[in-house]
Symmetry: C2
Subunit: 240 residues, 2 copies
């Protein structure tokens, strides 16, 4: 761990519990209800911020997590972002009705790439409106964007009314990088939060992303990641 | 070309026009409206059966293809199949309203893998009902299934009321194979049609798939595929 990250970690992260940064994620198409239940139980055990699942699995999460403070995050229009806006809006409403507390939607990359920014923004707004105040994250799929496009996408997330900008779906290549988080932070400042996702498996890397500005980490490797934390820093089950 | 395929081709395919087997496909998330318009124009030029696009692009296809006989195929719950059933049903209705004439949905692989067959079948039925008689294809994602599972998935497509069983999304690995088409044909017989999709770029391979039982080919390489056909067999623009 480099000294800058180490300093940040000692000052900030220990106060807040690293596990509470993590959206414990299971999005693979063949995931069964039993596997989804398992990540819910892990979220309870380790005190993760929430679980992140496909919309068909939100109800399963609610069965396990009802009455707890673990969040249920549903992806929407995932992972291509190319479902029509009204379908994304419908899926948002449906996910909330099933028990979701946050929505992770995918930017419409085709509109965005063609510089049809007002339509891409409206696509975000439609989801934000359907979310009725619940937090919405916009996945911009960093690996498919130039640095200028990443900045523009962050601006759209802000003007679209979203609460978070998020790096990657994990399905279209690419991964979270410290450089991208720094770039995104330089644009969104305090107007949006940042979720780093894609390829986050290592404890030190997770801390580097947080030090760079990430407010949330999406990963399928949360248990191993917390497990690899130095013993003097780890938050034990029950401590949260 | 092996002789069996050659014989089949001479007897059957020349009568029907190879291009008419092809769903000309553009599903990548960054596809722009201009790129979608281009595949519509190619479909008209080459006489493809239809174009296959994400639901947000169906309206663009209708602008170009209105009044022609080219079909507009919308994918639904694509490519994970893990959106909740009512969202898949909504997207189906929406796609039809926008101008789609066929629906390619993805099997709920999580339900299927857990042997929750009645729920996976109901997921198909919900889409079939919303399609109101329009043809529905069920993508079973062959690369993620054992041979026994492929057979079971074909049976579910039939009992779910679908009109086609389809091999691959192209997004979760895998590709159409002659062996899989033969296996699927052995199950569905004449109760369902078969769409081969995933990795179809070569003329001879396309004919092999048809000889094995495929009634439709989904490919993003239709223009090159038709272009590579022997000159004495190719159907020229305007012949269809």
């Amino acid at each position: 761990m480099n000294s800058k990250v180490k300093d940040f970690f000692v000052k900030e992260i220990t106060k807040k519990n690293l596990a509470n940064y993590i959206d414990h994620t299971l999005l693979k198409p063949e995931a069964t209800k039993a596997q989804v239940r398992k990540i819910c139980e892990e979220a309870l055990e380790f005190g993760f911020f929430g679980v992140c699942v496909n919309s068909s699995m939100v109800g399963v999460c609610r069965e396990v997590l009802r009455g707890t403070k673990i969040n249920i995050i549903s992806v929407v229009g995932f992972p291509l972002g190319a479902a029509d806006s009204s379908t994304k809006a419908f899926e948002t409403t449906r996910a909330l009705n099933l028990g979701a507390t946050e929505i992770d939607m995918v930017l419409h990359l085709g509109l965005f790439k063609a510089k049809e920014y007002s339509l891409a923004e409206r696509d975000i707004q439609d989801v934000v409106r359907s979310a009725e105040g619940k937090k919405v994250k916009v996945i911009i799929e960093t690996a498919m964007l130039s640095n200028d496009e990443k900045k523009r996408a962050c601006e759209l997330a802000i003007t679209g009314g979203a609460h978070f900008v998020k790096t990657c779906t994990g399905f279209n290549g690419g991964a979270a990088t410290v450089e991208d988080i720094e770039l995104m932070k330089s644009v969104v400042s305090d107007k949006c939060q940042i979720k780093a996702s894609g390829g986050i498996r290592d404890f030190d890397f997770a801390l580097s992303l947080i030090a760079a500005g990430a407010n949330r980490l999406g990963t399928s490797f949360g248990v191993a990641l917390i497990g690899s934390a130095p013993s003097d820093l780890i938050i034990k089950p029950g401590d949260y």
